[in-house]
Amino acid sequence: MGVFSARAEFIAGVRDELPIVVGVVPFGMIYGALAVGAGMPPAVAQAASGIIFAGSAQFLTAQLVGIGAPAAVIIASAIIVNVRHLLYSASTAPYLRPLRPLWRWGLAYLLTDEAYAVTITRFRAQQARGLPMLHRHWYLLGAGLTLWAGWQVSTAAGVAFGARVPAGWGLDFALPLTFIALVIPAIRDRADIAAAVAAGVVAVAAAGMPFKLGLLLGACAGIAAGLAVWRYAVSRTPSTQEAS
């Protein structure tokens, strides 16, 4: 922990993010391969990793492009998937607010799931221990740039090899599996279970709707169900309150 100079903070960010990047690289490759397989031109597939820089929204975009969904549906679905970034923005703001605008606007671009996770953990731990945090933004910069580089390079590898992956491998199945890996650890109480079940059932029932509109319908049903159970059951039970 040492001196907390800008350089030390940056290196700490890189170091903490590296193990996560090792886990992210296969997904970058799968995204690149799926995007090209879904018919996205390689240049667009690669550019999306820089412009959108959010794995789940990019996966979804590739999938919806593959089934020929209209642009408005693709955009609406991707935004719904990415709305969680509002939470990251709100929860890092108290720490980053004193920075100059260039820093704040720049760091916002790097606020991915993976960089946010290590950064907020670090900020909160340092604050709790009363450690100096003068150069804390360098930590997010180090973590964010490390993830950025890993995501761009792995996308490029996936785009390059993607066209040669045989359809019989069922590589597209890696997508729902990735979502399973994300959703299971996120289920912490009955409200989450209600959200998951309602969203899944409605999405299955509405699967016949054109252009995956069932996805949007299912997501809205899930959010409503989760909120209802949270409001009327879970949040009134003191023992589960901490789960939020």
């Binding site: 935004i79 990415n82 491998w169 729902p176 599996l177 890996a181």
Partner: protein, 105 residues
């Protein structure tokens, strides 16, 4: 061209969400109801993506034991629950799919 525009709009919207509370140096916070709502977004969206992919792999509802993707998905969910490891989840699910496809064929 539409595709480029789509990607640009999604990128701009995503950046907008990320910069929302960092754009200005003044305090701002999400109202409690918005925070509670946002909490359920990932679980709901992901579940709405997962279940159709497992239960309707070919378009029609398939709850039979011949549905390799459903069985592989259940196994992957168990692995995710026990290990909380994304790579182990995807790896076991893909391996299960390949084995089941070979067996069920």
């Amino acid at each position: 061209m539409t595709l480029w525009l789509t990607v640009l709009v999604i990128g701009a919207a995503t950046y907008g969400l990320r910069v929302a509370f960092l754009a200005r140096g003044t305090p701002g916070a999400l109202p409690p109801l918005a925070q509670e709502t946002l909490r359920f977004v990932p679980v709901a969206v992901l579940s709405a993506l997962i279940l159709p992919a497992l239960l309707q792999p070919a378009g029609a509802l398939d709850l039979s034991t011949g549905n390799a993707r459903l069985l592989a998905g259940i196994l992957a969910a168990l692995v995710a629950w026990r290990t909380r490891n994304a790579l182990a989840t995807v790896g076991s699910g893909m391996a299960a799919l390949w084995v089941l496809q070979a067996v069920l064929r």
